[in-house]
Subunit: 249 residues, 4 copies
């Protein structure tokens, strides 16, 4: 029997893409589209088993409280979850032991795999740097994914007993040439017409380098990750943070 899915924030650009992806996915049925003028009760009335929420930090907590209270699983791509908010979600889930909530900052499987592989490889290499390349309309530099990748790699280096900083004999640098310093890892942000969203993690040691590159040319590249989250919702009660926990690697 198909899993019954409700999409919250269904009229936005991302929401529409998710509705479309759910609609054509095997084994899933789109039963509710909820946008800002619709009552959440529509989720219950339609018999939704899982909701997908890519909305706004201002409204997501209300939606999550409602979903958990009604025994509906949630797959959440909305940003802004700090430790306080995660604690609140855990508290709600304590009273609903069969309900699952997946919150992930990035649903692009390739981006998540890139981060995982970079982390795993980091301890075998003396050097690591990150280059992220995006379209020129992006407001922040580095990207959230690059920032997170750098922090994960930095942590892997610490755990392996490697120095925080990669070897670097630079004594004379133009300002900015060596990139941003994120937890000891250099991150370079390229902004170029004709690009969409790309990232390279470069790892090097004597005589060899390993490069993990992710290219996303479609803002819909989060869809496979969302569908995976929906499909695994029932089998993973409680709070899960990060898509990587669903990849069984």
């Amino acid at each position: 029997m198909a899993i019954r899915v409700g999409v919250v924030g269904s009229d936005g650009r991302v929401g529409q893409a998710i509705c479309h992806a759910v609609d054509k996915a095997d084994g899933l049925e789109l039963v509710a589209r909820i946008d800002k003028d619709d009552a959440l009760q529509g989720l219950v009335d339609s018999g939704a088993e899982v909701i997908v929420d890519f909305t706004h930090p201002d409204v997501v907590m209300g939606t999550l409280e409602f979903a958990v209270a009604h025994g509906i699983h949630a797959v959440v791509g909305t940003t802004g979850f700090d430790e306080t908010r995660l604690e609140q979600v855990r508290a709600w889930l304590a009273d609903a032991p069969r309900v699952s909530v997946l919150i992930a900052p990035n649903f692009a499987i390739g981006a998540v795999l890139s981060m995982l592989f970079a982390q795993q490889a980091a301890r075998f290499y003396d050097s690591v740097e990150v280059i992220e390349l995006h379209h020129p309309h992006k407001a922040d530099a580095p990207s959230g994914t690059a920032d997170r990748t750098a922090r994960l790699v930095a942590q892997a280096r610490r755990e392996a007993g490697l120095p925080a900083e990669s070897p670097d004999a630079t004594t004379k640098a133009l300002e900015g040439a060596r990139g941003a310093d994120v937890d000891g890892v250099r991150v370079h942000s390229v902004r170029l017409a004709g690009l969409v969203a790309h990232q390279e993690v470069l790892l090097g040691t004597e005589g060899e380098t390993l490069t993990i590159r992710h290219d996303s040319i479609d803002r819909g590249s989060f869809a496979p990750g969302v569908l995976l989250g929906v499909r695994r919702a029932q089998s993973r009660p409680g709070l899960t943070v990060g898509l990587e926990n669903l990849l069984d690697l």
Copy 2:
């Protein structure tokens, strides 16, 4: 106390590089250099605890039998180990339960990580192809590493229930354009002056691609893998095939 290391095949190009690497490595001591005119007894006399053998299929079995019989661990990069030979090694080791033998077709950590990551990622992607690029003096195409990578990826696809072949609507192809077919995976071999040894695994699904690239510009890039094998020898009795088993991923 330093681990006492003997290098067999010490006068060849690879052997010399290994001697050099052992010599400057922390915690290792080079105590014996054995080449074709030297008696293996030199290993015992020098108190070698671990040998490194990058020699020839014709002589490696004799050396291994000697080492195991004398309680010396072995790290082996020599090729030609089929199942019959591996069985023989296991039989010798059955009588020497504290001795370890590591046999690996590839000691370049980056190449080994590339294969592992390609395998792990394969099940999330519709398509996968391999491009390997080498100097023009190479005799075989594809490279052994590319062949092995393709086979591992093909197996990962099978295990995930993916079709053997990536989607491909080609109806009109010039002979060879689509590469070699290794277990359903297309492999392309580039030979170019100015290159050394490089490989890219390209994985793709709707809207995104993941590329795992390994560049080796120094034939000494096997050294870190060999040193890792030497350091772990004592703690891993029995036969281990493949460096990936030492990476703790």
Copy 3:
């Protein structure tokens, strides 16, 4: 004053994209959209000075004859122009010395620049190979652009006195591994979900390589080349074959 432009084949996917590009371009005015049910006379009635034709080999010659006869310049991306057809166009133009016709197999400026640069660089390098990478729905391998690039590079090698084939010591190859042989140049065709249209020309000599890569992620990447052709139409009477002749390099 704006250049008055008519688009022939205006209702197809490419035609619509061209209409859109002309519409928003500075200094151009879209005055006629002609599709298969419309009379070519509409071009004259609307006062079109230049037409853009991305249609079909079956109809393009009639359109061109009409345009030249009425003193209208033409920018043509339709395929199928062999020497016989080009001769016919030259004959028509002989009677209309102020009219220009630009026929080009590729209007993506990046693809055209890639070919030019590859040609210019070829004589300084021992080795050259081409890798083209496309979405898996493509029917032919190698792509037309890769085939043409290989032929131009092969010609540049001949003119520089280089051997037709790059150095290659391969003695043991799996069928297809070394790619297709186009005029002595090896061409590799990758087909991968998540890609659109990409090409790399790799040139190598002792110790260094030069790579010219073109990525097109939008089938509308021909638009800038078309607009360039339209703007230069008046100043370039006669037949021009190939966009490269307009780039003033």
Copy 4:
């Protein structure tokens, strides 16, 4: 008859590589090796027709004055030639109209071609950025070649009427993330173990990008450029600055 070549600074690492390259080059004869304890008169005595000088700013002017005065051509890779020095060289050459001096900051043909192609392509693209990647022992960032490439590209943009800066909507950046600003062009410097000397120029416009990448894995990659300079010395009297002027593109 072979061209008679003298190498000044013959005992240094670069000088030795040049001696080696001259020695094995067809049509060239190495007739003099001059290092700091040798008198320049040795060049005259050996009948050198062309000298190659990769030495130091402190001594190169004396050597050049001597060479020009004795009718010997010079190919110079020594750095530090400002306009004052170039004027001085021109003054010496005014009295020796058949003598040629070639001074170039970069003799790697691939690096020179990269710069040329980047310049030629720049005016067709909205955006351009430079990434240079080097071994971690390098002292300056960005590299001299990247700095020069950025300046040439910036000049090409100005000449084409393009704005100095590529489009960039960044409003929130970590310090250094967007690289160094060289004449309006963003330049990123990566330092990584396992690399030698690499550079990418990325050019982009709506829907497409063009990447020109140069990889040098051998510090001897200047040799082909030096040999080209030596061979063309006789046919190019006067002062020539930059190898690009010898490439006949």
